[in-house]
């Protein structure tokens, strides 16, 4: 199961590292794969060196993370079905793309997710119960991005790719200032997550133009999960999405998004590339949304179950389990523990969801502006007075219907 990845041919005018993996722009592209669906480890001329950095403990951690987030996904789906969440956005099938890339980031890196990156959130130590607030109608975010360097979810597709580039431009300036001051702060980069659907948005184009022009330390991580709700990737693009990077003048790599080892290796390479000041990288993680777009979606209306079955055979967890067992790196006790940990997380999330404090509208008034605002103050005062008029009625059991 060796990789057929080829080095970049390079192109005129822009110097591209041969190891960058910028592929030719044809219909087909090479895909970096190290751990195949059969659980056997292959090799790659560039990325095997990165894969070798992963020790057995980390590898078991990748598996534990993937299993944990899949269990969380099941629990959140169940919570939605039981009316506890307004909506859920399942990630099943994309665990390797998210855990592999998330675990490759360093604490000082800053992550801009879309809204399905629950696995990345796990790797950034976001409290997963906090993450459910948005889907329970309690807040539009829930966690503090400054604590985790994991930004709030962005629902307007691709808007965050520009924020990522701007943030990276800020890092560039900070590092320049730090270097001038003789400081040796750890260098940082930014990861912008988006999907094959969002790749058609103009903001993705503009973000890649800005990133390229300013050589911003940003990694564009596109999870090509094959379906933008009901529309297949073929409607978004005629060429592999990774190949688009060539048009912007930076490396683009397609990686098997269900191969956590390859995803980690490629992302680690890309983040080093960015942190070292070599500019942006586009990674296309070739994966599949095994479930529905959201709990409001019905995939039977637009795709064949045979396709889903084909992708289930490429499951990211199964192949890593096969590898760990074959190499003697994990035993039954390990997998039992992973299952127990997942159940514990699910129980925690279920319990906490019920306990999540429902805010009152005062918190909405409080945060429209950072500084005092007379109109907001006036409307808030009116609402308080208006609400006070109902206090007696409520005490008497009055009915407003």
């Amino acid at each position: 199961m060796g990789s057929t990845h080829l080095p970049s041919p390079g192109f005129e005018g822009i110097e591209v590292d041969r190891s960058a993996g910028a592929f030719s722009g044809g219909q087909e592209t090479e895909m970096v794969q190290l751990l195949g669906p059969d659980g056997r480890l292959g090799s790659d001329p560039v990325f095997s060196d990165y894969a070798k950095r992963i020790d057995p403990e980390q590898l078991r951690g990748f598996y534990a993370d993937m299993a944990k987030i899949r269990r969380f996904d099941q629990e959140a789906t169940a919570l939605q079905r039981q009316g506890e969440l307004a909506l859920w956005v399942p990630l099943t099938g994309q665990e390797a793309a998210q855990i592999g890339s998330g675990r490759a980031s360093h604490p000082q890196d800053y992550i801009f997710p879309t809204y399905r990156e629950h696995g990345v959130a796990l790797t950034r130590n976001v409290d997963l119960a906090e993450l459910l607030k948005q889907f329970r109608g309690i807040s539009n975010g829930g966690w503090d991005p400054r604590q985790t360097n994991f930004h709030l979810y962005t629902l307007v597709l691709a808007a965050q790719t520009l924020h990522a580039v701007g943030y990276a431009m800020g890092i560039q300036r900070d590092q320049k200032a730090a270097e001038a001051a003789g400081s040796s702060d750890a260098k940082a980069a930014v990861v912008a997550y988006f999907g094959d659907g969002a790749s058609s948005e103009g903001d993705v184009h503009e973000s890649m133009v800005f990133a390229s022009s300013f050589n911003a330390p940003v990694v564009f991580f596109c999870q090509n999960n094959h379906w933008a709700i009901s529309v297949p990737t073929s409607v978004q693009t005629r060429i592999p999405l990774a190949n688009r990077a060539k048009g912007y003048g930076f490396p683009g790599i397609r990686v098997d998004g269900n191969d956590v080892i390859a995803v980690h290796a490629v992302t680690e390479w890309a983040l080093e590339h960015a942190r070292e000041g070599k500019g942006p990288v586009l990674i296309e993680a070739y994966t599949y949304r095994v479930g529905a777009h959201t709990t409001a979606d019905d995939p039977t209306k637009y795709r064949e179950s045979a396709e889903e079955a084909e992708w289930r055979a490429k499951d990211p967890l199964q192949r890593l389990e096969a590898y760990l067992r074959a190499e003697g790196l994990a035993d039954d006790a390990f997998f039992a523990q992973v299952k127990a940990d997942g159940d514990e997380l699910a129980a925690y999330v279920r319990r906490t969801t019920h306990e999540l404090e429902v805010p009152d509208i005062q918190s909405a008034f409080a945060n429209v502006y950072a500084e005092a605002h007379p109109l907001v103050a006036e409307e808030q005062a009116w609402f308080e007075e208006y609400s006070a008029g109902f206090v007696g009625e409520e005490a008497e059991g009055g009915d407003n219907n």
Binding site: A159, H163, V165, I171, G202, E206, S207, S213, V368, Y369
Partner: protein, 326 residues
């Protein structure tokens, strides 16, 4: 006191900002060596370098979106949108992202981005270069919108916009860029609060509220009305969001009549909002309905007929006559 044009006053305000606020930076199309199409950023790249005065790719969403990212990293970007009609590719970033970031993070994140937009007509320009889109932004909670009408305000208000922790849209009255005025660069004086309106002329018979490019027109109309024996109070709104309703209410309680003038179309505009608020706050003081003077419900017309479209002295005087006739 120094005499300078509004364009120069903004230029000096930006220079002071870049000097005093190390995390501030300017971004926009052609703002570097060219100094912007109106030369508002003239000379700044030579003084502060390309990391602080950034010639960006030609993409408005990109400018606003990356400015949001820079703000999240602790910077204070000042974006230039080249013309009013070109802000719309960035409208999504402004309304769905910039305006909501503080709120959706429950107050944890600050995005102190300033967006400078030259606006308004009267310069004989081609399509998309003469519009007044302020109401589209005023309808969006989370944004602040201010617009100077004179050089002293311009010098101070641009600096105050950068200091504000909220996103601020700074509308520049482009046909008044060359209007000269006295600027006190030592202290703001009455310009201390950019969100307060200024009474520029006292009067007793009617109040005319205007902002940005129409302030000199309103003052000229008040001058003409005085010759006819009518005492007209003129208020420069200065801030479009929030609006200083207290100042307008106080004036109307005194005069009993209100005319609101802006270049933007009257339908769905700022004038309608002021009329509604004043009818709530000062109903029993009003001697006549609030009258709006503004653009027609049409795309901004071609330059050769823009004189018929734009509010001018006569249109304000006609509105005054109607008000006084009640």
């Amino acid at each position: 006191m120094t005499t300078m044009t509004i364009a120069k006053a903004i230029n000096e305000g930006l220079r002071a900002t870049l000097k005093n606020h190390p995390k501030s930076l300017l971004m926009g199309e052609d703002i570097g060596p060219l100094g912007g199409v109106y030369r508002v950023t003239d000379g700044l790249i030579a003084e502060f370098g390309a990391d602080r005065v950034v010639d960006t790719p030609l993409a408005e969403s990109g400018i606003i979106g990356t400015a949001i990212g820079l703000a999240l990293r602790g910077y204070s970007p000042v974006c230039e949108i080249q013309f009013d009609g070109f802000v719309f590719p960035g409208f999504n970033q402004i309304t769905t992202q910039l305006a909501k970031m503080h709120s959706r993070s429950l107050g944890k994140l600050m995005v102190p981005v300033v967006i400078r937009i030259p606006y308004g007509g009267g310069i004989g320009s081609i399509e998309h270069h003469s519009e007044s889109p302020e109401a589209l932004f005023a309808h969006t909670a989370g944004l602040r919108i201010i617009t100077p009408s004179n050089a002293h305000d311009a010098y101070w208000m641009i600096q105050q916009a950068v200091q504000c922790q909220d996103p601020v849209i700074f509308f520049e009255p482009k046909r008044r860029y060359w209007l000269k005025g006295e600027v006190d660069t030592e202290k703001p004086g009455p310009a201390e609060d950019p969100f307060k309106a200024h009474v520029l002329r006292d009067g007793t018979d009617a109040t005319v509220v205007a902002y940005g490019p129409l302030v000199p027109v309103a003052l000229a109309a008040a001058h003409a009305a005085a010759e006819d024996g009518h005492s007209v109070e003129v208020i420069d709104l200065r801030s479009i969001s929030p609006i200083d309703f207290d100042a307008v209410t106080d004036s109307v309680k005194k005069t009993g009549r209100l005319i609101v003038a802006h270049e933007a179309p009257t339908f769905g505009g700022i004038g309608g909002e002021i009329a509604a608020r004043i009818s709530e706050r000062a109903f029993l003081h009003l001697e006549a309905p609030v009258i709006r003077v503004g653009g027609f419900h049409m795309p901004y017309p071609v330059a050769k007929v823009e004189e018929d479209y734009l509010p001018d002295i006569d249109k304000i005087l006609e509105a005054l006559d109607r008000s006084l006739a009640y």
